[in-house]
Symmetry: C2
Subunit: 245 residues, 2 copies
């Protein structure tokens, strides 16, 4: 049983994607939508506010809401999982673990995972490929309580996220992504098949489980031209922050 407001939101999203409401056009009013879906205005507003937060529509008091873009954001799951993202774009994802080991968490890592310095954590160095081409070198560190589940995964496991969810019921619910650029070192040059000094896109991320415990922190280095990130935001919902390097 899907929720009423979610049904309405999904329906509006696909209506916009289909072009029934082109970019720049006005959406029906709360009252019209409530009548059309036979729901209360509160429920309709809950659905609409989801699209608002995604930046798909704009809204000002008094004026009808207008469509801003037809391409919806990916779901969080799709973002978190390299494999699921690739699959949704019709590409084949691959992965290979180059190194993995238990070790004591250093200061930075410990802080990001919210564990004491020196706590046992599981470190993994992984190459990710898209249609056979290496595009991403991933240095991930998993918290101790999930590390052994990661250790049991096959080294060429395509979707780590999916397997962890199947094996342990783990669901990622929050993430923080820190994005900057840097030059490729020897290691990146070798595994991503480019020259030392080439520009790389670096994403340092920390992912958190339902209960707020950090699960994983990672330093991902992308080959330029292969992958980019898009953030859509608004006055109402802003998740992007500029920080000092």
């Amino acid at each position: 049983m899907t929720r009423r407001h979610q049904q309405i939101a999904d329906d509006l999203r696909s209506a916009i994607a289909d072009g029934r409401y082109p970019v720049g056009s006005a959406l029906p009013s709360d009252a019209e939508l409530a009548a059309a879906y036979d729901a209360s205005r509160g429920t309709v507003r809950q659905a609409v506010s989801a699209l608002l937060a995604e930046g798909m529509i704009g809204s000002r008091q008094g004026a009808r809401r207008t469509v801003l873009t037809t391409t919806p954001s990916q779901s969080f799951t799709e973002l978190r999982s390299f494999a699921q993202w690739a699959a949704s774009g019709g590409h084949a994802a691959g992965g290979l673990v180059l190194e993995s080991a238990w070790e004591a968490a250093g200061g930075d890592t410990a802080a990001r995972l919210q564990v004491p310095t020196g706590a046992r954590v599981f470190r993994v160095l992984r190459v990710r490929t898209l249609d056979g081409d290496p595009v991403l070198l991933e240095r991930a560190v998993y918290a101790g309580w999930i590390g052994s589940a990661v250790e049991r995964l096959p080294p060429d496991c395509v979707s780590v996220t999916r397997r962890l969810n199947e094996d342990t019921g783990l669901v990622f619910t929050h993430g923080e992504h820190h994005i900057d650029a840097l030059a490729a070192g020897t290691l990146e040059a070798r595994h991503l098949e480019l020259r030392r000094g080439s520009p790389l896109l670096r994403v340092r991320r920390t992912t958190t489980a339902q209960d707020g415990r950090p699960v994983e922190t990672s330093d991902d280095r992308y080959r330029p031209g292969s992958v980019a990130f898009t953030v859509r935001n608004s006055l109402q919902a802003n998740s992007l922050t500029r920080t000092e390097g």
Copy 2:
């Protein structure tokens, strides 16, 4: 007269920032907050959902909400305006227009600004400095209806956003940011004081006014190490998208 739900949200934000609710601790329940602020549960939930969307707190049905992080996101205005961002971090921002001209919009630019190909647009090449050091080369293109206001600004105008707001009442409400990495060319090398081929962080963004009309589209190239971007997201609110390069 600020809104009730916004007051409550602000109060909760500062309570979290102050450490009254440390990371990992539980927030009071809807009922308790409603009693404390003398508001209905609906209003409290509206306030709490703002923090939820910002990723400051986590929530699951049945369990109390927990604090995920104490550092709030910047407001959208602060993100949009380089000068206001710098000021909030205690730095001095500067800017200098190197070139500017009216020209006909090319295909890409026209599409991003949602104007016909060949429409008159105003292009500006600007260097931005932080505490005197050049950190950002900005290639911005403004839509025709706002271009003349931009043209009237002094070339060393520090906060373009603020001046446009004062002069024309313009408010930026939505933005789309596309982030990747690339190597510095001759122009970037000269103005950002680095070598050709050095890695740069590129942010291509399009900003939209209240009524949904695109105002500005820009290609910003940041010197690495000076500025980074952070995105915080969750199952409930996700604005980050991974795209093909």
